[in-house]
Amino acid sequence: MFVHLQGSWNPIYGRLSLHEIPFKTQIIQGAFFFVVLTALAVLTAITYYKKWRYLWEEWLTSLDHKKIGVMYIVLGLVMLFRGFIDAVMIRSQQVMAIGPHSAGYLGALHGYLPPYHFDQIYSSHGTIMILFAITPILTGLMAIMVPLQIGARDLAFPYLNALTFYLTAAGAALVMVSLFVGDFSHAGWVGLIPLTELPYSPDVGTDYWMWAVQLSGIGSTLSSVNLIATIIKMRAPGMGWNEVPIFTWTALSTSVIGVTAFPVLSAALFMLAADRYLGTHFFTASFGGDLMFYTDLFWIWGHPEVYFVVLPAFGIISEVIPTFSEKALFGYTSMAVAALAIAGLSWMVWLHHFFTMGAGPGVNLFYGAATMLVGVPTGVKAFNWALTLYRGRLRFDAPMLWCLGAYALLLIGGLSGIMLAMPAVDYSVHNSAFLIAHFHSFMLLITFAAIAGYQFWFPKVFGFYLDDGAGRKAFWFFSAGTLAVFGSLYALGFMGMTRRLDYIPFVQWRPPLIAAEVGIFFYCVASYYLVRQLYVGLRDRKTRPAGADPWATTRSLEWLTWSPVPAYNYPVLPVVHGRDEWAWRREHEYVDRVPDHYFDIVMPKNTSVPLLLGALSFGLGFGLVWRIWWLCAVTIAGILLVVIIRSFDNHTEHTLSAALVAKLDGGEGGLPDAPGSVNPYPSPMPVPFFAKTGAVSRCADRVASTLREGVVAPGPLGKGARR
């Protein structure tokens, strides 16, 4: 039944053997030592500060959507770092290798990377950046903010939320393991067919790519299910569809894409897996397989995926710009409709990814026109932002700057996208650096917006400000880096440079590539300032606590509750009266955050089951990659068993009594709502453990231990203080 593979295989280790660990490649050695030393440092720090218990109880087993969201974002940042290193390696190889016979270093023929290694690097760069960096960061932001924006206690399925996180993490872990055990796919992040088929890629690299993407894809599908159910079912009383905040609208549109597009990817990868493991002929070059069928299926997912990541970015921009323009968003309804329209159009443009593959002029014409149609709702958004800015009282805090940067990139990327939408133009620039620069404009737009969202909502989630000055410096350096790198790539595209080159044939291409290296240096400076921004924020968190409304001109519902947000989000669910509920309450001077009555609150208990399922999925993926059949059988049985056993647990929730909520929340015998008042119940969550000192830490531990039936992270810091 299973295909015959050449090479060694034994029933216990499968295809795994010591030869598969690339001891001899110096670059991988370096990466290996870096990863091991970093991991050791982290583990030592956790042990030294005795934080294992804290980590386990407050984070790893938590079902709190805010904590899971933060873990999503941390995972995304770690993978973003890896993807960035990959990018640096790609461009520095090209700067070094001019012509096939230029000098080679570290055992490479030219440059310092052998072609096979280079191919793995661009494949992992794409896979990681899209699926394991940007997607988790945005999913994390949505998981944190959507329940807060609609006035819910949590997502509809908190347990599923943790599970989808661990599935994504399992996929990311597979990608990381591929660095040191075996190799990664060399067939591009899109899985160029038939290169991914067994005869052309007999190694495990493609399997690693396939199963990592599969796991994270299933995670994304299910997290989309969770978000849609949340937005439809869990809105606060009074919140009709006309009152839903705009970021939630984009989250809904994105989730509609997620729930419809990701399964197609799953199906494509299942068929590819059948080809590679069972010897079927879906996409093979012989026996009646169809190569283009894979390409179609992949892009039927792949193009909606682009909008899956760009829509939340649009949502963030639509939240930040009104806040720092001190105006309501212009054209709310058209914004919501545009988001849904982009989601709908995302389904009818996939063929523009392979205009040159001979579909014929009629088909190309249709898809070219459909692609240009996307410019319409996107233009609606761009104009609405412009009209929101128009005659606003603009403040250029760091999040606003990042949003304006994203706005500029939208124009650049959008206009070059309209150019590429014309099949005639596409024939001359397809697969060139121009295309690379185009879609990186969009990826960078998303990055700018994600950073804006992080800086905008950080005070809400953690209760203290990030350093604004460092944030602005980071913005300017990041923008300079983007200009230098992708300006160069646009130029290189016009000079005829194609993508995925392990050496450049013309010396004229070198100066723009050197300019790109300078841009990379600017990116490094920007990263320094981003870290510094966080460091300064942590250092001064006592002196600069953020009130519940840290920007003073915020509008939507999430700014109504305390900063940092208590575990139950809202002591009593707020009644929504207008589109921008918090702005409405502020205008009518209903700014009291302490309700006059309380109810019992039912919260999900902590559980380690999602973590266990994630670990089993990782084991399954690893077993499949190396064809260790007993491991696959054991993990599949384990997953089934764990799911069934968990379904017999009817005590997955616990109740906080109304009296306890009242006490935690500062009403009825608690603290008065005075600006700057000290909160006796600081949440164990908001301040990372390494930043905790003496009193706060002890107090937090005491409260946490008295409340740990599940975990309650109560109470605000600097209640209701407005700047």
Partner: protein, 208 residues
């Protein structure tokens, strides 16, 4: 409703102690999951259309030599009858009668198991005749659809067993109720997909 009126009527904070409808939320979530699963089915149906031409058979068997509608006809009867039996079991849920639910679930399970047995038998018979997915793209696509459906049936049968135990142990706990309702969606959905599989692969197979 203007703001001031709203304040008078509802106040700023919820007074009704809103509890979100747990069963309804789970049902909606399950519908959404089925939407995603139907996309996988759609891709597989797409495969059987795209790979459904003579050249995709690569000179190998296709059409009526592979699958015969008559055997699938009996499978159809079993699966639809199983769906009917489960519908009757849910009548028991409506009336709150545990024994009735368990009895009809047993019938539904046995009918479903009969379907699974016939499916496995069909596949084994094909393999015995040397008609395997490795032979051609045409066979890969056709058999993938049938196997993917059979996997759902298999998981559904496990789900039946678990739910029968849970009904017996917990009675009609809300958790049990929403799972019974979701199982209904799942089981009817598989019947529905089977009707499509029957039409697409078996009946259409005879024509080409």
């Amino acid at each position: 409703m203007s703001g001031q009126e709203a304040i008078r009527e509802q106040g700023l904070w919820d007074r009704k102690d809103v509890h979100h409808d747990k069963i309804g939320t789970h049902t909606l979530g399950f519908w959404l999951y089925m939407l995603s699963d139907s996309m996988v089915y759609a891709a597989l149906f797409g495969a059987s259309v795209v790979l459904g031409h003579r050249m995709n058979a690569a000179g190998g068997p296709m059409g009526a030599t592979v699958l015969h509608p008559l055997s699938a006809y009996w499978e159809t009867l079993l699966l639809l009858a199983s769906g009917l039996a489960y519908g009757l079991a849910l009548q028991g849920l409506k009336r709150g009668r545990k024994a009735l639910v368990l009895a009809w679930m047993t019938v539904a399970f046995l009918l479903g198991a009969g379907f699974a047995a016939l499916s496995v038998h069909t596949l084994l018979a094909l393999i015995a005749r040397g008609i395997t997915p490795e032979r051609s793209g045409y066979l890969s696509a056709d058999l993938a659809l049938i196997v993917y459906h059979a996997l759902h049936i298999g998981l559904g049968l496990v789900w039946f067993l678990v739910m029968m135990v849970q009904v017996a142990v917990f009675g009609f706990h809300p958790n049990v109720v929403y799972r019974l309702l979701n199982l209904k969606l799942f089981w009817f959905f598989q019947s529905f997909v089977w009707v499509l599989v029957f039409s697409f692969t078996y009946l259409r197979g005879v024509l080409i």
